[in-house]
């Protein structure tokens, strides 16, 4: 073992430099296939100068601490949700209805987009090299029973929904008329099963299938939150590499990032079919319905998020729709 951050850049020519890549994803997730592909590509193109060890499934901790460790340099690279604990603007990748479908997501989260450029800037200020967004699909809403007036924003839905602890999740759900409840991720399935909550938001169809598939009866594709995780790396470590190795790393991550945009839709479709096979009623809201909900959230919820994300960032994001 040994922290590679300490001896980064001066690895002797015959000793490979071993980098640790931490991910949030289970071993059989598309993100793990991508991580393996990156490790292979980097090792091959650097002729074995750089080796990447993958620690999947949050083995090295949840995304909050993994990100902090990227800042410190005790973990070298990660594929995680960027937390907002060090800079509230970093929560903006999960802005509700920032996008309303895969085609939009390809533009908004693409390398070089307004959001990506901002993320490069914010991460750099913390000593983190931002290597690109990774689209895993769209977070859906699922529950054991149907809400009242699903399509009437603001009407009391009569559903208590587990949300993750962030304004981006809690505020729009409250505005739409759900009662948001914070339950730890690990307890979400039993909380739904026993009825402490009626349902939850927080997972793509894939996660829903594996985590609560046997328990839920309904799944709604609402396009409210893109599961927009990110590739990050310790900045100092990145800077210490030769220009050639830097380029190899940038290319490898960008390739998988771009490919995720192409794969996400099929991935979601696949797991929604699997959910249906379990007997879950999968409801795909129509374009008009999604647009209606998006308009509501953008006018009602976004002003509340302004203090968190800053108006500079939010205005820039809005400009994309105008």
């Amino acid at each position: 073992g040994g922290s590679s951050g300490d001896n980064g850049g001066q690895a002797a020519s015959d000793e490979p430099m071993v980098l640790r890549l931490a991910t949030d994803h289970p071993v059989d997730h598309m993100a793990t296939r991508s991580a393996n592909a990156i490790a292979e590509e980097v090792e091959e193109k650097t002729n074995g100068r750089i080796k990447i060890n993958i620690y999947p499934a949050s083995q090295l901790g949840g995304y909050d601490t993994v990100y902090e460790e990227i800042v410190r340099g005790t973990i070298d690279m990660a594929h995680i949700t960027i937390p907002d604990s060090l800079d509230s603007r970093l929560g903006a990748a999960y802005t509700p209805y920032l996008t309303t479908g895969y085609e939009e997501a390809k533009v908004v989260y693409a390398p070089g987009s307004f959001l990506s450029e901002k993320f490069v800037e914010y991460n750099e200020a913390l000593g983190v090299k931002f290597l690109g967004f990774y689209l895993e699909g769209y977070i859906g809403m699922s529950a054991k029973k149907e809400p009242r007036d699903l399509l009437v924003p603001g009407a009391n839905k009569g559903l208590q929904m587990r949300v993750w602890a962030a304004p981006a999740a809690r505020e729009p759900m409250a505005d739409l008329g759900y009662t948001p409840v914070t339950v730890p991720y690990a307890e979400a399935p039993t909380a739904i099963q026993t009825g402490v909550v009626d349902g939850w938001i927080g997972g793509t169809p894939n996660v829903n299938y594996h985590w609560v598939g046997e328990i839920i009866d309904y799944f709604w594709r609402t396009y409210m939150h893109a599961e927009s995780t990110a590739y990050v790396m310790n900045q100092k470590l990145f800077d210490s590499l030769s220009a050639e190795d830097q380029q190899i790393i940038l290319d490898a991550f960008e390739r998988q990032s771009k490919e995720s945009f192409e794969l996400a839709e099929a991935e979601d479709e696949h797991w929604m079919e699997q959910l249906e096979e379990l007997g879950v009623t999968v409801v795909k809201l129509s374009d008009d319905e999604v647009q209606m909900l998006a308009d509501f959230v953008r006018t009602t919820t976004w002003p509340k998020l302004e203090s968190v994300y800053t108006s500079e960032l939010l205005d820039g994001l809005k400009a994309q729709y105008e």
């Binding site: 902090e68 602890a165 962030a166 914070t182």
Partner: protein, 180 residues
């Protein structure tokens, strides 16, 4: 002088007592606070169908003060969890007192290192200004319990190490008298 003599002579020291009383006060306040925060969150959701927004952020801070002061109180009362095999299977005497001294020293050193890590952790929290997601409360409010708690743990271990030195010296003096 025996172990209990040493302990009793300190019991009435103003600083020693005040320190313990402050810990007890924090333990009572955090204990009640944790109980009331959790139950009111539950009752609000169950009876009024509303969520006590972001209560878990406040709860966890109280909980950490509870844990760390509770733990430092454990060092004060010498009831940290031990395997305690030696004390059961070894007879009183020189060997035991030397091992006691060594254990006491080792615990002190380990506590001090732990304490130093906590110091670095809190300093990092102040520099990075990490905040909770909903209320944007500084995380150091909870994290500093680690520094305070472990400082107390180190302090108590230091005092008890000093006790062990005294006791070992007594043990050896007595031993010499018996031998000579």
């Amino acid at each position: 002088m025996s172990r209990t003599d040493i302990e009793l002579s300190r019991e009435n020291h103003l600083f020693w007592r005040t320190l313990a009383n402050i810990q007890k006060a924090i333990m009572v306040v955090t204990g009640l606070a944790v109980m009331l925060i959790v139950s009111s969150a539950m009752l609000l959701r169950w009876l009024f169908n509303t969520d006590f927004k972001g209560y878990e952020e406040i709860l966890v801070m109280f909980a950490f003060w509870l844990y760390m002061i509770g733990s430092s109180y454990g060092s004060y009362r010498k009831n940290q969890i031990t395997a305690d095999i030696l004390n059961i299977y070894l007879k009183e005497g020189r060997v035991k007192s030397v091992i006691n001294l060594f254990r006491s020293f080792l615990t002190l050193v380990l506590a001090a290192i732990f304490n130093y890590w906590a110091y670095e952790f809190v300093v990092w929290g102040f520099t990075m200004k990490t905040k909770t997601p909903v209320w944007r409360l500084p995380m150091v409010w909870g994290q500093s319990s680690l520094l305070i708690g472990l400082t107390l743990v180190t302090f108590y271990n230091l005092v008890y190490f000093y006790d062990e030195i005294k006791l070992t010296l007594i043990q050896f003096k007595q031993g010499k008298q018996i031998l000579s």
